[in-house]
Amino acid sequence: MRLHRVGAVGASLAALVLWTGACGSGGGSKSSVTTAPGSASTASSTPALGSITIGSANFAENVMLAHLYEGVLKKAGYKVTVKENIGAREVIAPALQRGDIDLVPEYAGNLLGFVDKTTPGGLPIDQTVTKLKTALQTLNLTVLDASPATDGDVIVANQQTATKFNLTKISDLVANGSQVVMGGPSECATRITCLKGLQDVYAIHFKDFKVLDAGGPLTVAALSNNDVQVARMFSADSTIKAKNFVVLTDDKNFQQAGNVIPEIRVDKVNATLTAALNKLSSTLTTDDLINLDDQVQTAKKDPTAVATAYLTSKGLA
């Protein structure tokens, strides 16, 4: 009986502790506090530039990129909220248009292919960006500068399949496709950078397609266990090397430029924000990205902490 009374009191105390913000972070749905350097900006109590919401897709690299953006924008004077793990581009796009989120780290070529389904593969990055800006205009969205850092879609095969069918490039799959099961995320079936593209551009027809995730743990596990032989992953993913997966060369150039690029609502663009994000984009290199990915994906470090450490090391936060 006393247990109940203790429970009531205990719970109220706990509630009090929680709400006085033992953590010191502001209220609201998803304000993530970047530790140490980021908090230098809390000296300026009311941000002069207002607030901005950054969304991210549901994989660790994108979450980390979102926190990179968060760090530089906080330093620039914004009040930033981050919504993590929203989902794939198909879900993020309407969210951006509705204004649920304002900014999201994207990949130039893949985004273009999504917005304009007629885009051919293999476009160089500057052409990609120009086309993107035009295509996004009607949606009241735009992109800023593309980073030299790339993380594009790649088709990989597990070691045993690559050996068995002597696979080095994607068109090697034409002959053996019917004996191979491919894995990918839900949206892969309809994407021209994924299953649909393989069918249309390469004329590959697989034995079966299994819905897994976006190059994440389910995909890695399925490839390792040979539940699927071929899958779509991301080029900066350190797991590819770790698991001896074989990246198949895109000989028909159907993939697109995977440069990291901020996609943003037009009504949020201003000189300060653009300068801050462009500086970050130009600083980030592919090697940096691979290193950061390794930290969040393999070493499982906290994406916010990893982002903060990087920004500090580059003097950006």
């Binding site: 198909e90 389910l218 399925a222």
Partner: protein, 252 residues
């Protein structure tokens, strides 16, 4: 988007999705996914009965381990099904196995609790009378306690059944199939026809399960007790919840 616009577009998409012949064929088709879902739910509930019913009956009959029996459903309910599914997927390979085990973990508690409470609730006078008639413990269980406990036992089965059907939709997040696949893929591909189509199918299946198990409950309940229990959806959930929760009410 405005509500009326969303609704009319949704209805149109829904109709189109059902009208598409491709959606009724093959391993991604409605019949197959429906079968997957029903088969999994059936397997889980039967297994849960096989495991949980004897335990619950034993607890109720012997009055040992009553604390566990009575609290198990509450503890089970406190564990989010999403968490169980993810833990299951991380322990085993993706697919049917983690889904089955997670759903089993969900289904056993209400069955154990309801069986144990149902047996314990049997009027002590009736038990006395049975003992007076010379019944052994086993006979008492079989001829008196279980029949009297049927309403509560069946309520537990109904709770478990409906919960399993509902949570099985969530198993699609860890790459299982079933009707939840349409919901997850509908979200992923922003295909509202698919999303709605799957959701409607799950609702129909859930309601059918409720009604079907309600009918089973009526059929199994001894005639004299028929006035108990109702066929309203969720009534079973609440009836037993209220009853079992009274057990925790402050007693003097």
């Amino acid at each position: 988007m405005s509500l009326p616009a969303v609704i009319s577009l949704s209805v149109r998409d829904l109709y189109r999705w059902y009208a598409n012949g491709d959606h009724w064929r093959g391993s991604q088709g409605i019949p197959h996914r429906l079968e997957e879902h029903v088969a999994m739910s059936l397997a889980v509930v039967l297994s849960a009965l096989l495991i949980g019913l004897p335990i619950g009956l034993l607890i109720g009959h012997t009055n040992r381990g009553a604390v566990v029996g009575v609290n198990l459903a509450n503890i089970g309910r406190a564990i989010p099904s999403f968490a169980i599914l993810v833990i299951g997927a991380q322990l085993f390979h993706i697919g049917a196995k983690p889904a089955f085990l997670a759903l089993l973990a969900l289904a056993i508690p209400p069955i154990v609790t309801n069986a144990s409470v149902g047996i314990r609730e049997v009027d002590p006078d009736v038990r006395e009378a049975a003992k007076g008639m010379g019944m052994t413990g086993w006979q008492m269980l079989r001829r008196v306690e279980i029949p009297l406990a049927i309403p509560l036992i069946m309520a537990g089965v109904r709770t478990a059944g409906v919960q399993v059907v509902a949570t099985a939709t969530l198993a699609a997040v860890v790459a299982w199939g079933g009707l939840g696949r349409y919901i997850i893929d509908g979200i992923g591909q922003q295909d509202s026809g698919q999303l709605l189509g799957g959701a409607v199918l799950v609702v129909i299946l859930s309601l059918s399960t409720e009604i079907g198990l309600g009918a089973a409950q009526r059929a199994l309940t001894p005639a004299g007790l028929r006035h108990q229990g109702s066929a309203m959806p969720g009534a079973a959930v609440v009836a037993v919840e209220a009853k079992e929760v009274e057990k925790f009410a402050p007693a003097s």
